[in-house]
């Protein structure tokens, strides 16, 4: 919301492009670092000793738990920091700098609110696979989804002064986004079940 309206202001599209690029790059860096750290952490505790069968079984179990959680059972809150990026940065710092700070902060994944539980699946997979490179791939992909929504948001914005409309349009589609999240977790169940079936002797 803070980054998007500029794209609708005549003569300021380049500034919007610079800001959203800074947001995306900074988030890519921090998300990749999170993924690499989790993969390295998994390697450090030798999580890979469970073997490919163990990794697939654990991933399948976690996918099922998160999938059913998003369907409403068990109705447990998502573990998270109840915090947002600092809106105040926007008034104190130049546009591209503040966009980079917001991107870097949100890119840390767990430093701000989580609406759904799926990010925890990525933590589990990154640690279990004990591969910093795969951890980077997972978290960079997660961030690419988050950043893509910022790149696409001008399509939902009718004019420069309509930030509230953007929020409104997203809000009224919350149920659709939840269903997409559930579908992604369902896909994880399918893929890991197949991985497990393949890894079985």
């Amino acid at each position: 919301v803070a980054l998007t309206p500029l794209v609708k202001v005549a003569g300021r599209r380049r500034e919007w492009l610079a800001n959203v690029s800074a947001y995306t790059v900074a988030g890519t860096v921090t998300s990749s670092l999170v993924g690499a750290a989790l993969g390295a952490g998994g390697a450090l505790v030798n999580a890979g000793r469970v073997g490919s069968l163990g990794v697939a079984a654990a991933t399948l179990a976690i996918s099922i738990v998160l999938f059913t959680r998003e369907l409403g059972w068990p109705p447990v809150p998502v573990p998270q920091l109840r915090r947002q990026t600092r809106a105040r940065w926007g008034s104190d710092l130049p546009g591209a700098v503040v966009a980079a700070l917001w991107g870097g902060d949100v890119g840390l994944t767990f430093s701000t609110y989580l609406t759904f539980s799926g990010a925890w699946l990525l933590v589990a997979v990154a640690v279990l696979t004990a591969s910093p490179a795969f951890g980077v791939a997972l978290f960079a992909a997660y961030w690419s989804g988050r950043a893509a929504s910022v790149w696409a948001s001008p399509l939902l914005l009718p004019g420069a002064g309509a930030g509230a409309v953007l929020v409104q349009r997203v809000n009224r589609n919350q149920a659709v986004l939840r269903r997409a999240h559930i579908a992604a977790l369902g896909l994880s169940v399918l893929a890991t079940a197949w991985l497990l079936a393949r890894a079985m002797p």
Binding site: V106, T115, Y142, G145, N173, R178, T192, L195
Partner: protein, 66 residues
């Protein structure tokens, strides 16, 4: 992003309906739909990389939050 506070301000605003509503929904669902299709295509040859497509969709849906 810092939008949670603004949500309460606009919660009582009138919601556009009809084609506008459909356009928003199509736009918001097209990316996850593409991700799911890509993930399904990868699921059999490379289940591990299907999880990367899953990650992208999970990230996009976070748009529903603050």
């Amino acid at each position: 992003m810092a939008i949670r506070d603004r949500r309460s301000e606009i919660s009582s605003a009138a919601l556009p309906a009809g084609p506008d509503r459909d356009r928003s929904r199509i736009m918001l669902t097209s990316v996850p739909a593409a991700g799911i299709v890509a993930g399904l295509a990868l699921a059999i040859p490379s289940p591990r990389w299907a999880l990367v497509a899953v990650a992208m969709v999970l990230g996009w849906t976070q748009l529903a939050g603050p």
